[in-house]
């Protein structure tokens, strides 16, 4: 039997009941990774250790131990999250040979659950990009249509989940980097509330916006993953000390009375006609099934992208100053003195997009421009936070498309960075205000390419997002489960 197409919950049940061993499941996943290698979804493999871990879990099951849901289940990790003993490259020449010397907190948590790590996922360099074309190790191909991008920056994570190379993957989301690729690859992606998941051991892009989250093929699988990785961490000062619900048990069968907010401004941002049709159908679906649709006002939503590029680039320019060829990572071969070592290392080690953002960050933080750009962006961020708070007084969630288009062609936007940035017009505001948001497939266009729907929640209310997303999935199964075979 082919076990790779099962959901995480299904395969976990089969492993834990003894119907199949984790070793057999892991072997099938490894075979699937090898068969779909051309997607370039993974930067590195961990097959031997994965099989060892699988055998260890099988033994525990034989011994009659009761194990957590993720025990024995193969998982992929984005390549900016430290897994001790494995490479963490951030898809950059700068960290090409960097081997992690400690585990990120999310990895510690998954290890406590006996999850099986099969590989590290390709991504846009240092998580900067919306198409995975900025990787130093080549672009990732969309598993549904190999001529298209998988989205970014967690493109490898989304593609590996969509192509059955694992049952779940971890990604990171600073401006849409989990949700946009989830939308493009037809999978489910959750960006948790800022502070819900520890960022300790995750290579920082923009600290005040970054958040780790899961990508899966079903909503329930996603809920299981978030329960496993969420929670307070005394090593991470922005992680918040509030109880982690069992998100799977919190999923309700009824959506009657839930209020879904629609901002007319979302529709003015510009989206493809097929995306608009699918989103309107989804709104109608929720209305017919008892949810209440309410109008809300988000007047300044169109400013989110500008504020985002200022704040995220400012933070990135300071974060990336640590890559100087001294303590770790790449060092240029030829240089004159210490300063020249820094300059040559950074010039040769960083890719074009990363350099562009460092330069922009240094510009908005530099004397004479700080108030006009950085301070202004922080004030606009506050303005938007206030607006979202007002909107959430009238509704439980907000609804929008995840991206204005379906997955675009490789190379289509790579020479126009402004066009590329616009792919994130619906996802960026969520990071700006710190809310949680989920993306799940709500339909397909004429060419069979998936369209993602985004639901945005109140802070720390991921549960309502899972309830609404799961309700949609239960009634629209054909949209879910990865690419058609």
């Amino acid at each position: 039997m082919d076990y790779t197409k099962l959901s995480l919950l299904e395969v976990s049940k089969k492993i834990h009941s003894g119907e199949v061993t984790s070793e057999e499941v892991t072997s099938q996943i490894i075979a699937q990774i090898k068969a779909s290698e051309k997607l370039n979804a993974l930067n590195s493999y961990n097959f031997e250790e994965a099989l060892e871990k699988a055998k260890e879990v099988d033994q525990k099951i034989k011994d009659g131990r009761v194990l957590p849901i993720l025990a024995g289940v193969p998982i992929v990790i984005k390549d900016n999250i430290n897994v001790c003993g494995q490479k963490t490259t951030c898809s950059s020449k700068m960290l090409e040979n960097y081997v992690s010397v400690y585990d990120a907190t999310v990895i510690e948590k998954l290890k406590e659950q006996d999850a099986v790590f099969v590989g590290k996922a390709n991504m846009d360099e240092f998580a900067m990009g919306s198409s995975n074309e900025n990787s130093a190790f080549g672009p990732v191909l969309n598993p549904i249509d190999n001529t298209r991008v998988p989205g970014g920056s967690s493109g490898g994570s989304a593609a590996s989940v969509g192509a059955y190379q694992c049952y779940a993957a971890l990604g990171t989301d600073t401006g849409g980097s989990i949700r946009e690729p989830a939308s493009f690859c037809g999978v489910v992606g959750m960006k948790p509330t800022y502070g819900r998941v520890s960022r300790y051991g995750v290579v920082a892009f923009a600290n005040s916006l970054d958040q780790v989250g899961p990508l899966t093929r079903t909503v329930k699988d996603n809920a299981v993953m978030l329960s496993a990785i969420a929670g307070y961490d005394d090593k991470e000062t922005t992680s918040v000390d509030c109880p982690v619900p069992d998100y799977l048990n919190e999923i309700k069968d009824d959506i009657k009375g839930l209020k879904i907010g629609i901002a007319k401004q979302f529709f003015a941002l510009g989206m493809d006609e097929d995306v608009k049709i699918a989103v309107e159908k989804a709104i109608e679906f929720y209305r017919q099934n008892g949810a209440e649709i309410v109008d809300v006002d988000l007047k300044n939503i169109d400013l989110a992208l500008s504020a985002y590029y200022i704040i995220s680039s400012a933070e990135a320019s300071s974060n990336l100053s640590r890559f100087d060829g001294v303590r770790y990572g790449f060092r240029a071969e030829k240089y004159d003195d210490l300063v020249d070592l820094y300059v040559k290392t950074r010039t040769q080690g960083f890719g074009r997009e990363v350099k562009r953002r460092i330069m922009l960050g240094n510009f908005v933080l530099s004397s004479g421009y700080y108030d006009a750009y950085y301070n202004k962006a922080k004030k606009v961020q506050q303005l938007m936070t206030n607006e979202f708070e007002e909107a959430f007084k009238k509704c439980d969630v907000l609804l929008s498309p995840t991206s204005p288009s379906v997955a675009f062609k490789l190379g289509e936007k790579s020479n126009d960075h402004i066009k590329m940035y616009l792919s994130d017009v619906y996802t960026v505001p969520v990071n700006i205000v710190g809310s949680p948001a989920i993306s799940f497939p709500c339909g397909k266009n004429q060419d069979g390419l998936p369209i993602g729907l985004q639901l945005i929640g109140k802070k720390f209310d991921e549960s309502t997002l899972y309830t609404l997303a799961n309700y949609f999935e239960e009634h629209n199964k054909s949209n879910f489960g990865g690419r058609d075979e």
């Binding site: 000390d241 300044n300 500008s306 060829g325 003195d337 950074r346 330069m359 922009l360």
Partner: protein
Amino acid sequence: MEITTKLVNHLAELSRIEFDEKETENFKSEFEKTLEQIEALEKVDTQNVELKNRLLDAETEIKEDIPHNSLSKNDAIKNAPDTMGSSIAVPIMID
């Protein structure tokens, strides 16, 4: 806003990144487009916006100062491009 070569060179220096002439020219036009985009913020009235200190609604507690184990010396220098004994090596700074 017009982006001059002088400004690009200044930013490159701050960033510790070198650009050749062609890259500088490309960067100038890209940067102008980016600024055009972000200058939309200028029109927003933010005079009465009060900046709150953090994004989080929940209170974060100040941690107690308790010593704990950190990376070993070996692990700390494991990824250094050049080492000397148990230290990281850099080019001579003072003759």
